[in-house]
C-alpha cells in the first residue's frame, strides 16, 4: 500500500510542441481511488504512462512513499497497469498470462499456482485458467487483465480506460465490480477515463485535466458543486453559461442579478479583476420554475421527457436557458418565472464566488417583499441564510 506523488511533471512530445502534460502536481493517498478525467488528448494517458515508466518526463518527479521511482524502468516499478485493450498475450493461456510476472520473478512453482488461483478467484473466473484470451468475452478478458495486474501485488494499480471497450450494460456492471475489488484489496489506484459518469461513480477523488493541465482535484461531489474552473464547470455535467459583469455592487448574469457585497475582498483575494467580463454558471437543476414567482418572466420553448426528469428549454429576456425539472414537480405554464437557486461566478475561467439562493431579477415588480430598499434587494436578502452575506463566497481560485 502506498502513497503516490506527482511533483511538477512536464512531458513534451517532439521539440517545441505544446507539452502533453504541463507542470502536473498531485497526490494520491494510500488506498485511494483517483480518476484522471478529461477529454481525449488532455494528457491523462500520458500521465499514467509516466507513472508506469513507459514515458520519461522532461521535468518533475514521480514518488511512491516519498521515494523517487523515476530512474526505474517499468519492470522494476512497483506499479501494475491494466491496458485499454487489455493487452493479454494471445499465445498464452489465461493461467500463463497471470503467472508470467511471477515466473519472471522466479517464484517457487507452488506459490505461483496458489497466487494465480487466488487472483482468478478474486476476479470471479476460477475455472478459466486453461482458456486462451481469444476464447473469452470482452468482460472476461478485462478481468484477466485485472488479475494479471493484481497477482503481482503492486503498490499502485494503474488503469487506462479499462472499461471503454465494453458495451454499456457490462461497463456499468464492471464498474461496481472493479470498485468492490479495489476496496477489498485496498490498493492505491489511478484510473484514466474520459467518461465523467464513470469517474463520478467510482472515484474517491477526481483529477480533471484539460490540455495537459490539472484543472481541479476534488471529491466527485465537490467537483460537481464547486467546479474550480469554467472548463470543469462545463465539462462535468451540464451548465448554463451566462455572460456576466459587475455593476455597482451587483452581478448581472444574463437575465439575472445577484448582490455582490464585497468587491474589494474579491479583488484582493483572487488577484483577478472582477471589473471585466465575467461568466456565470447555473446548473439546469438549479433553475427554479414558478408561477408568478420572484424570478424573471420566461417562455418555454420545448419540454423533453427523459423519464426521471424533464429537460426544459426556455427563453428569459432573450437568453435561452436549460432547466431540469424532476418528474414530481409540475412545470408552470401560466406567468412562468425562472430564478437560479445557485450561481457560480468565474473570472478568467477561475471560480470567483458561488451564491446560494436569492439570485433574481433586479427591478422586477415582485410583490409581497418586506424590508427596506427596493423590493428586489429585500427579496434577495430574505432568501439568504443569515450570517452568510448576500453571496457566500466560494473557494478562492486554486491557482495563484
Amino acid at each position: 500500500m502506498a502513497r503516490l506523488e506527482l511533483d511538477h511533471l512536464v512531458k513534451r512530445y517532439g521539440r517545441g510542441g505544446e507539452p502533453a502534460v504541463q507542470d502536473l502536481s498531485l497526490e494520491v493517498n494510500d488506498g485511494e481511488f483517483v480518476c484522471l478525467l478529461g477529454p481525449s488528448g488532455c494528457g491523462k494517458t500520458t500521465t499514467l504512462r509516466l507513472i508506469g515508466g513507459f514515458l520519461k518526463p522532461d521535468a518533475g518527479d514521480v514518488r511512491i512513499d516519498g521515494t523517487s521511482i523515476l530512474k526505474e524502468p517499468p519492470e522494476r516499478r512497483p506499479t501494475a497497469m491494466v491496458f485499454q485493450r487489455y493487452a493479454l498475450w494471445p499465445h498464452m493461456t489465461v493461467w500463463d498470462n497471470i503467472a508470467f510476472g511471477l515466473q519472471v520473478r522466479r517464484r517457487p512453482r507452488d506459490e505461483i499456482a496458489r497466487r494465480v488461483e487466488a487472483a482468478l478467484e478474486l476476479v470471479g473466473l476460477p475455472a478459466m485458467g486453461r482458456r486462451y484470451p481469444a476464447q473469452l468475452s470482452g468482460g472476461q478478458q478485462q478481468r484477466v487483465a485485472l488479475a494479471r495486474a493484481l497477482v503481482l501485488e503492486p503498490r499502485i494499480l494503474l488503469l487506462d480506460e479499462p472499461l471503454s471497450n465494453l458495451d454499456a450494460q457490462l461497463r456499468v456492471h464492471m464498474r461496481t465490480e472493479l470498485t468492490a475489488i479495489q476496496r477489498r484489496v485496498g490498493i492505491t489506484t489511478v484510473f484514466v477515463t474520459h467518461d465523467q459518469e464513470e469517474a463520478m461513480s467510482i472515484a474517491d477523488r477526481i483529477a480533471v485535466m484539460n490540455a495537459g493541465v490539472l484543472e481541479q482535484m476534488d471529491s466527485p461531489e465537490e467537483i460537481y458543486a464547486q467546479p474550480a474552473t469554467l472548463f470543469v464547470a462545463t465539462f462535468i455535467g451540464t451548465m448554463n453559461r451566462l455572460d456576466a459583469h459587475v455593476d455597482a455592487g451587483w452581478v448581472r448574469a444574463g437575465p439575472f442579478v445577484a448582490a455582490l457585497p464585497d468587491i474589494g475582498r474579491l479583488n484582493a483575494g483572487s488577484g483577478a479583476s472582477v471589473d471585466g467580463a465575467l461568466v456565470a454558471g447555473v446548473r439546469p437543476e438549479d433553475l427554479v420554475l414558478e408561477t408568478a414567482g420572484q424570478g424573471v418572466p420566461a417562455r418555454i420553448d420545448s419540454v423533453v421527457d427523459l423519464g426521471h426528469y424533464r429537460r426544459v428549454t426556455l427563453t428569459a429576456e432573450g437568453t435561452s436557458l436549460l432547466a431540469f425539472v424532476p418528474r414530481s414537480e409540475p412545470i408552470p405554464t401560466d406567468r412562468l418565472t425562472v430564478a437560479p437557486r445557485r450561481l457560480l461566478l468565474y473570472a478568467d475561467g477561475h471560480l470567483l464566488a458561488t451564491s446560494e439562493g436569492g439570485v433574481k431579477r433586479s427591478g422586477s415588480n415582485a410583490s409581497g417583499s418586506t424590508g427596506g430598499g427596493s423590493p428586489s434587494i429585500s427579496a434577495i436578502s430574505s432568501a439568504i441564510e443569515p450570517g452568510k452575506g448576500a453571496i457566500p463566497l466560494g473557494p478562492w481560485p486554486v491557482r495563484k
Binding site: P73, A80, M81, A87, W89, A134, L152
Partner: protein, 290 residues
C-alpha cells in the same frame, strides 16, 4: 387495386442481344467452364509430367503413353550423379536458410521497431536484387568470386543462394514483428520482464508464424536456385536444379519428368505446412495490433 401491385412491363427478350446473361443456368455453366479452363491450365502440364514419369514409350498419335514402366525411376534413384546432387541440395539449402535467418531476422526486427535515417530506402533497396535479370548480377558476382577463390566451392554456392532469400527473410518477418502490438510488449515490461525476456517470451513467439513461413520460402528459394549455382558451383558442386539441366538435355523425357517430381516434392510439402501456419489459430483470432 393499387398501382403498386401492377406488374412491371416486361422487355421483350428478342430486343436484347445479351438476354442469355440473365439465365441462371447459363451463368452457372460459364462459371464452370472458367474453373475448368483455369484448372486445366494449371494441372494439365503437371498431369503430362506425371504421365511422362511413368511412361516407357509415348509416341505421336497417342494421347496417353503406349506403355508404362518404372525402369526410369530405378535408373534415376540409383544414379550416382542424382544421389550426389540430392546430397548437395540438402547440404546447401538448410545452411542458406539458417544463415539468412541469422542475418535477416535482426534486420527485420530493426526495420519494424526502430526509426533510423534511411530506413525506408534500405527497406526498399532489398528489392534491388530482384529488380534486374539475375543472370547479369550472378555473372558480376562470379568475377568477384574468382578473385576471392570462391568459384566451385561450397561456400561460394551458399553465398550465391543467399542472394535470393534476403527479400523474403526480411520483409515477411518485419511484417510479423509489426503485427505484434507495442502494448503487448509494454504489458510484459510492466509485469517485470526485462527487454530481452520480453523479446523471447512475447515478441518472438508472436512473430513466429511469419518467421516460419519466411524460412520455408527462403528454403524453397535456395533449394530451387539454378542459375547462380550453375555459374558459381559447377562443375564441382552440382545441386538438384543444376543437374536438371544436364538430365533434360542428355536423357529421355521420363528422366526429366521424374527428376522434376523429386525436385518439387520438398517445396510442395513445405508450402502445405506453411499454409497451415498462415491460417494458425491465435493470429487470426487474437490480439489485433494497432
Amino acid at each position: 387495386m393499387t398501382t403498386a401491385s401492377l406488374p412491371k412491363p416486361e422487355v421483350a427478350p428478342g430486343l436484347r442481344l445479351t438476354w442469355f446473361w440473365d439465365v441462371p443456368e447459363f451463368r452457372r455453366a460459364m462459371g464452370l467452364v472458367l474453373v475448368l479452363a483455369l484448372s486445366s491450365f494449371l494441372l494439365l502440364p503437371l498431369l503430362t509430367l506425371l504421365l511422362w514419369a511413368f511412361a516407357d514409350e509415348w509416341r505421336y498419335p497417342g494421347v496417353v503413353p503406349q506403355s508404362a514402366s518404372l525402369k526410369w525411376w530405378d535408373w534415376v534413384l540409383t544414379n550416382g550423379d542424382v544421389g550426389s546432387a540430392v546430397r548437395y541440395s540438402f547440404m546447401t539449402a538448410p545452411v542458406v536458410t539458417l544463415i539468412a535467418a541469422i542475418i535477416c531476422l535482426p534486420a527485420a526486427y530493426s526495420f519494424s521497431r526502430f526509426r533510423f535515417p534511411g530506413r525506408r530506402t534500405l527497406f526498399i533497396s532489398l528489392l534491388a536484387a530482384n529488380a534486374f535479370p539475375k543472370i547479369g548480377l550472378y555473372v558480376a558476382i562470379a568475377t568477384l568470386f574468382f578473385r576471392l577463390n570462391l568459384m566451385g566451392t561450397y561456400w561460394g554456392v551458399v553465398l550465391i543462394q543467399l542472394v535470393g532469400t534476403l527479400v523474403a527473410m526480411v520483409w515477411i518477418p518485419a511484417a510479423g514483428f509489426d503485427s505484434v502490438a507495442r502494448e503487448l510488449e509494454d504489458a510484459a515490461r510492466d509485469a517485470g520482464a526485462g527487454p530481452l525476456r520480453v523479446f523471447w517470451s512475447i515478441t518472438l513467439p508472436l512473430a513466429m508464424p511469419a518467421i516460419v513461413v519466411a524460412s520455408f520460402l527462403a528454403f524453397i528459394a535456395a533449394f530451387d536456385e539454378a542459375q547462380g549455382t550453375l555459374i558459381v558451383g559447377s562443375p564441382t558442386i552440382v545441386t538438384m536444379p543444376t543437374l536438371m539441366y544436364t538430365l533434360v538435355v542428355n536423357y529421355p523425357e521420363p528422366v526429366g519428368a521424374i527428376f522434376s517430381i523429386l525436385l518439387s516434392a520438398p517445396s510442395v510439402i513445405l508450402l502445405l505446412i506453411a499454409r497451415r501456419f498462415l491460417l494458425a489459430g491465435y493470429l487470426a483470432a487474437g490480439f489485433k495490433g494497432r
